[in-house]
Symmetry: C2
Amino acid sequence: MVVDGAAPEDSGRAPGAGRSTMTGAPLRAIPEATVARLASYLHVLSGRRRDMAESAVSAVISSEELAQWSGVNSAKLRKDLSYLGSRGIPGVGYDVATLLDALESALGAREIYPVAIVGIGHLGSALAGHRGFSGRGFPVRALLDADSGRIGQRVAGVIVTDVRETVAVCRDAGVVIGVIATPQHAAQQVADVLLTAGVRSILNFSPGTLVVPDDVEVRQVDLALELHMLAFHELRRGGSPARWEALQQ
Amino acid sequence: MVVDGAAPEDSGRAPGAGRSTMTGAPLRAIPEATVARLASYLHVLSGRRRDMAESAVSAVISSEELAQWSGVNSAKLRKDLSYLGSRGIPGVGYDVATLLDALESALGAREIYPVAIVGIGHLGSALAGHRGFSGRGFPVRALLDADSGRIGQRVAGVIVTDVRETVAVCRDAGVVIGVIATPQHAAQQVADVLLTAGVRSILNFSPGTLVVPDDVEVRQVDLALELHMLAFHELRRGGSPARWEALQQ
DNA sequence: TAGATTGTTAATCGATTAACAATC
DNA sequence: TAGATTGTTAATCGATTAACAATC
């Protein structure tokens, strides 16, 4: 938000030019918007591969087909894939296995990124048990909270630790991604502690802007903001609930 | 996405030109990115107003100050506000009350948008009790689930209903926003039912693309995608956990 | 070869930002 | 008036897309 998440972000981020893959192929800098879509292609493609695992169905897919599955324009998809340097076959399409490999490699999707969640309320607990984490290379290695009533409890198999021990716990567990699910008033303080622990990637579910150094990436998931966007859409459509009820009958 | 976040969206959305406010002032079409930031300004500004409620502090704020609070460039902020037609005072700044009024009006933030949540697992339950909803004009009026073990239970003060009654329940409750928190395999089916119930705004926490008509707005909140974006950032920085531990000592 | 689809170019579109005349 | 800040212009930047030569 695009979103966007679609939260306001510091847009002047350096695009990290001149990288290269493990295979040594040089890459152009990949735009943020493209990275988000690459992740989406990866997800769609792994899902589809599972579906057609049994049948010996074509291990090749066209940009048009993948584009439709992903809900994007096929020209945009080809442009996105061109950043990977991964070669499709003109007149044929993309080899699914090769493409998956290139996507995983480009996104670092084969690495493990240990996660800490701070703020183990309703939302934090739900996140701790969420498949999106442990299932896919983001094991939850630490849960932290300030409430003595919650400290010591086991949530999704992990013991909740006192937030004052964040730095030690995160370093011990090799945490590289911090998730903030605290009330807003605590968020900046928690972010500061995570920074001290060496965390440079933060997923923030608390509303409001975090102040962090330039080399720290913050992804904002703002529920209230999403709802306001939908509200704006409702307003724009000009449909009141009452009017809709009438129309639907 | 963020965005928000930043999920791939059908970009060819009609920008809804030629609206007008309740005061009759004609408005240019407001870009999506601007709408997201307007919502953010509204949030920041209401928070700050609460803080300075007691003190008779300046009821005026400059674009520079609000921009810093919101983490954006002040030129961008002024451009954003210019879409509201709300007049600041050159040499002085913006009257806070007037600005809040204009923001609320433009975003439809004074209306009530009843919400239904489908899928009352860990995440759905957490959302049902979340302040972001009931607190700010988005009352949760219906909870729906397919699991007979959950149907009939009370979550955050609302009884969970059988998902097969979605259409009737949503119409009765005047639901205008549907939240999907089901497993992915059920998401499209749930979306279809919500459409039948007249819902035209959907907040989707399930990964994967929903196919919906053009006049339906879908905001995607994709946890796995956010994590992949952060993973990419980690990869780009080239820091392995081990390396970080060494650096931090 | 004929047919199909890629990768890339170039045009278009939209969003960001510095700068400054207008204004209080 | 002098100082400050707005609203808007114009330049820049980046992202999207149609179109098509290159390629299998």
